[in-house]
Structure formats: structure tokens, C-alpha cells
């Protein structure tokens, strides 16, 4: 697999340096501690949001650092959670005295490392609230698994909770709206090909030309099952069935829809998918209040897409519309 890299071992550090060079006015990147912070952090009296996770999901999370969203992000190695020291350094760097919210995707490694970091931060007198994101309904939420994975809804949690923090929300309020957004969200993903990590140099799994992985996550891990490729209209309908079964939306409810590319799928196909989503939701009487189509929570170069549906209140829509200025998401500012 061909890639634009120098040495597989240096990819994350070099990409971080590049991100800093590309956004000199908005971001401050600490290459040795490995975190990305708002240039104007810490902001006294403002609740800070810190997220992080393995690299390979760009623009998540580093691309969502800026006004109205995250105060800092900690990228780990590719598909590997950041380490506690890194998360602690970022937390201390952006704490403005009003507390810090950790937005954590529900993966065993992320949960453990953020938990250790939150304990260390508490030892230093920083109040930390953790918002766990677990929206992927392809995984059964039972005692027999590590629980549902955090995927596309992470963007909505970071945007809406970030807006609440920007307008002066208190620590408990920011965390609460983040948790509400997560609870109201469900996601489902398909992969057409596996992604290739720089270190492995070969795809994480092989798929025959006519088969797809159903219910994949964002780390190249295989999905729940394989199926024959079907027309997009049928795949969308199946995904929405799973989403709406897990998180029912009633007639007249408003939703935000995210059609998210996993890194290797053209926008042409993502818009085609959005058209199918709009048709199905209209049939079911669901009002789409806002929508976002593009590559936001990716899995390196995986061809595939995920759908996220979040049932929203007027308050969430107001916060969604609030100004945001980040490398990956920008409007009104």
C-alpha cells in the first residue's frame, strides 16, 4: 500500500507538526507532550473540553480544536489511545479554573487511559467530568461486550457541549448536555474496504470484491458480519432500521443527521447516501433539522460510511448553530 509518509514510526509526530504549521493563528501544538490546544487557551473561567483517541480518525479530534468546540485534543499512535501523561498535560494546559470535560469514546484503552489521567488531574486539584460516547448500535450493549463503541456522535457531543462551554456553561451543565446528546444518538457503519495503518502497510482485513463488512468500527477491526454488496438504497434502509430500533424517533421529532465518510469514500457517494437517508426519514415523519455530509470521523483510508441520527431539542439545535472555528468544522465565526 502506497502512502505519503517518510517513516511509519514518525507519521503521528510529523502530521502534528504539519497541523501546527497549517493553523499557526488558531492552534498551539505541543509536539513533545503531544497535544493540540486552542491558541488562546487557557481561558479563565471557561469550562475546557479535552478529547483524544488514536490517530487515523482525522479531522477528529485535533481538527475540532478551536472556538466553540474543543480546547485541546490528544492524538495517540495510529488507532491507539493516548497515554495518561499526555492527557494530563493537555488538561492542565487548558484548565481555566472552571473544570475540564473529558470527551471519551467508549473503547477499553481510551476509557482506561482517560480514567488514569482524570485521577492524576484530581490529585492536582482540577475538577474533571467525563462524557463517555457510545453511539454505535452495531454492537450489542450487554455485559458480554465492552459496550457500544463511540463513533460519529462524538462530533455532535463535541460541537454541542463545546458551544455550551463557550457561552459560559458550568462544568456540570456542559457535561450534562454532552451526555444528553450521546444518549439521543445512534450510529451504524459499513465498510467496502479495510484501511491500512502506516505501520502494518497492508489492509487490516481482506474483502472479496462483492462483499462488505456490516457494523464496522473506526479502527479497522472487522464488523459484525459480512454480506453481499447491495444497492445503497437498501443499505441505508437497513442501517436506519437498526438506528431507529435502538433509539426510536417519534413522528414529528427533530433530528440532526451525520453522513460520515470513513476516509476513502468520495463525496459523490456520500451525497447519494444522504439523498437516500432524507427519503427514508421523510417517509417516517422524521424532521431533519440539520445535516452534515463529509469525512469527519474517519478510519484512515477505509472506503465506507457511517450514519448517525441524533434526536435533538431546540436547545441542542441552537448550540449546534452557534459559531465554531476549527480546522475541521467552521461556521458563523
Amino acid at each position: 500500500m502506497k502512502k505519503f509518509i517518510n517513516d511509519p514510526a514518525d507519521v503521528v509526530a510529523e502530521a502534528l507538526a504539519g497541523l501546527a504549521a497549517a493553523h499557526p493563528d488558531d492552534l498551539r501544538v505541543d509536539v513533545s507532550e503531544q497535544y493540540i490546544a486552542r491558541a488562546d487557551a487557557p481561558r479563565g473561567g471557561k469550562v475546557a473540553l479535552v478529547s483524544g483517541g488514536g490517530s487515523g480518525h482525522e479531522p477528529l479530534h485535533g481538527g475540532f480544536v478551536g472556538t466553540g468546540m474543543l480546547d485541546a485534543a490528544c492524538p495517540g499512535e495510529v488507532f491507539t489511545s493516548p497515554v495518561p501523561d499526555q492527557i494530563l498535560a493537555a488538561t492542565k494546559a487548558v484548565d481555566g479554573g472552571a473544570g475540564v470535560v473529558h470527551v471519551v469514546k467508549n473503547y477499553t484503552g481510551d476509557v482506561m487511559n482517560f480514567q488514569l489521567a482524570a485521577e492524576l488531574a484530581a490529585d492536582e486539584g482540577i475538577a474533571v467530568e467525563t462524557v463517555l460516547v457510545d453511539d454505535d448500535v452495531a454492537v450489542e450493549n450487554s455485559t458480554w461486550t465492552a459496550g457500544r463503541r463511540g463513533t460519529g456522535a462524538t462530533l455532535l457531543v463535541e460541537k454541542i457541549a463545546g458551544a455550551r462551554a463557550e457561552e459560559g456553561g458550568k462544568l456540570a451543565e456542559v457535561a450534562a448536555i454532552g451526555r444528553e446528546v450521546n444518549t439521543a444518538s445512534a450510529s451504524f457503519a459499513y465498510a467496502l474496504t479495510a484501511g491500512t495503518t502506516p505501520a502494518a502497510g497492508r489492509p487490516g482485513f481482506d474483502l472479496p470484491e462483492d462483499e462488505i463488512e456490516v457494523g464496522v468500527g473506526i479502527h479497522g477491526e472487522p464488523g459484525r458480519r459480512r454480506e453481499k454488496l447491495r444497492p445503497a438504497r437498501e443499505l441505508v434502509r437497513s442501517a436506519l432500521d437498526a438506528i431507529l430500533e435502538a433509539k426510536p424517533v417519534n413522528d414529528g421529532d427533530q433530528v440532526i443527521v451525520l453522513v460520515n465518510g470513513l476516509g476513502g469514500t468520495p463525496l459523490l457517494e456520500l451525497y447519494l447516501v444522504y439523498g437516500e437517508v432524507a427519503t427514508v426519514l421523510a417517509e417516517r415523519g422524521v424532521r431533519v433539522a440539520r445535516r452534515l455530509v463529509g469525512n469527519y470521523v474517519t478510519s484512515l483510508d477505509m472506503a465506507g460510511m457511517s450514519l448517525t441520527v441524533t434526536r435533538v431539542t431546540d436547545e441542542m439545535i441552537r448550540l449546534w448553530d452557534a459559531p465554531v472555528r476549527t480546522p475541521g468544522l467552521r461556521w458563523g465565526a
Partner: protein
């Protein structure tokens, strides 16, 4: 076990995960995200470098430092799990440049407890625990039967290897492999496999 032997064990563990890095990554690609070999290799290389730079003069301090290095350098689940295990092992040991066999057994028990507390895994969940638990049982049984460290370590290594192999038939209930449901059956668990490598390293350096 003295400081030199503890250091030799960690060095041999680093050598083993480096040599088996590709295999660990292949196992992890089948049911996880394909980075276990790379991460373990990076972590244990950092452990050896940290211990070479400033070698602790007590066995317990050495394991605490090794564990802290893994937590700081690895990330993922394996960093906190192996790091916490080594830290708990080190903290459970009495101070001094040499520890008795019974104390070491107690330390290994504390290490397993740390893994179970952090990860919540029980035997049969297809995790590190499925190699660590039988290895520890065999170690303690050998010690109770009068074996020396070499004998106990050899018994533990055999049991860890059998435990790791037995994970093939299990359905994962913890960690990333659990997302696969029944599809995780038929693949040996990478975490249990690396645990078996570490117990084999102990057997190799004490033989």
C-alpha cells in the same frame, strides 16, 4: 529474585515481544486493530531504556518503574493493563535488592488483581487473564510443592502457553475483540499470547 534477575526477565520479555511482534500483530489484526505487536515492542523497548538509564537498586522499585514506563509509553489497553500489573507487583514486594519466592508469588497475585480491577475481565473472557490466571496457579502450586524459582517459572510458562492456546475456542467478552461476537471464536487472543511470552521469558532467564 534479585535486581539483576528481574532486569534480565524484563530484557528477555522485550526480546520476546520484539521477536514475536509480527505474530502478535497478525493475531490482533484478526480480532482487533492490528497494533498489539507494535505497541508491546515500543513499550518494552522503552522499559529497557528507562531501566538502563537509571537502574533501581530494589526489585520492587524496578517493577514499579517498568510499569510506570509502560503506562506512559504504550497507550491502548495493553499499556495500562501490563503497566498496572507490573506496578502492583513492584508495590507488593518487600524493599531490598532481593526477594523471596513466596513474596514474588504474592506480587504476581497483586499484578493479576490489578489487571482484573482495571479491565474487569474474568477467566473465559478471552483476555490476558486467561494466560495469567493459570500461570499464577501453576507457579503457586509449584512453590507449595517445594519447587525453586526455575521450576515454578517453568510450570507457569507451560500453563500460560496452554491458557493462551485455549483462548482460541473462546468468544471475547472484553476489549475490542468483543465487538466481533461469535466471529472472535477460532482466533487466539493476542493479549493472552503476549502474557505467555512474558512468563516464558521468566522461565528462560531462570532455567
Amino acid at each position: 529474585m534479585d535486581v539483576a534477575l528481574a532486569l534480565a526477565w524484563l530484557r528477555a520479555s522485550a526480546g520476546a515481544v520484539a521477536a514475536e511482534s509480527d505474530r502478535l500483530t497478525r493475531l490482533d489484526s484478526a480480532i482487533g486493530d492490528g497494533d498489539h505487536g507494535v505497541n508491546m515492542n515500543r513499550g518494552f523497548a522503552a522499559v529497557v531504556a528507562a531501566l538502563d538509564a537509571t537502574p533501581p537498586d530494589a526489585v520492587g522499585a524496578l517493577f514499579v518503574k517498568a510499569g510506570g514506563t509502560l503506562i506512559s509509553k504504550v497507550g491502548g489497553a495493553s499499556g495500562p493493563l501490563y503497566g498496572s500489573a507490573l506496578r502492583a507487583l513492584g508495590k507488593a514486594l518487600p524493599p531490598g535488592p532481593e526477594v523471596e519466592l513466596a513474596a514474588l508469588a504474592g506480587g504476581l497475585e497483586a499484578g493479576l488483581e490489578a489487571v482484573r480491577k482495571l479491565g474487569g475481565a474474568e477467566p473465559g473472557d478471552k483476555t490476558i487473564v486467561d494466560a495469567y490466571r493459570p500461570a499464577l496457579d501453576a507457579f503457586e502450586e509449584a512453590v507449595a510443592g517445594g519447587a525453586d524459582l526455575a521450576g515454578a517459572a517453568a510450570a507457569a510458562a507451560r500453563a500460560a502457553d496452554e491458557g493462551a492456546r485455549a483462548t482460541t475456542a473462546m468468544q471475547a467478552r472484553k476489549g475490542r475483540a468483543s465487538y466481533l461476537g461469535e466471529r472472535s471464536i477460532g482466533h487466539q487472543d493476542p493479549g493472552a499470547t503476549s502474557t505467555a511470552l512474558i512468563f516464558k521469558a521468566l522461565a528462560d532467564v531462570t532455567a
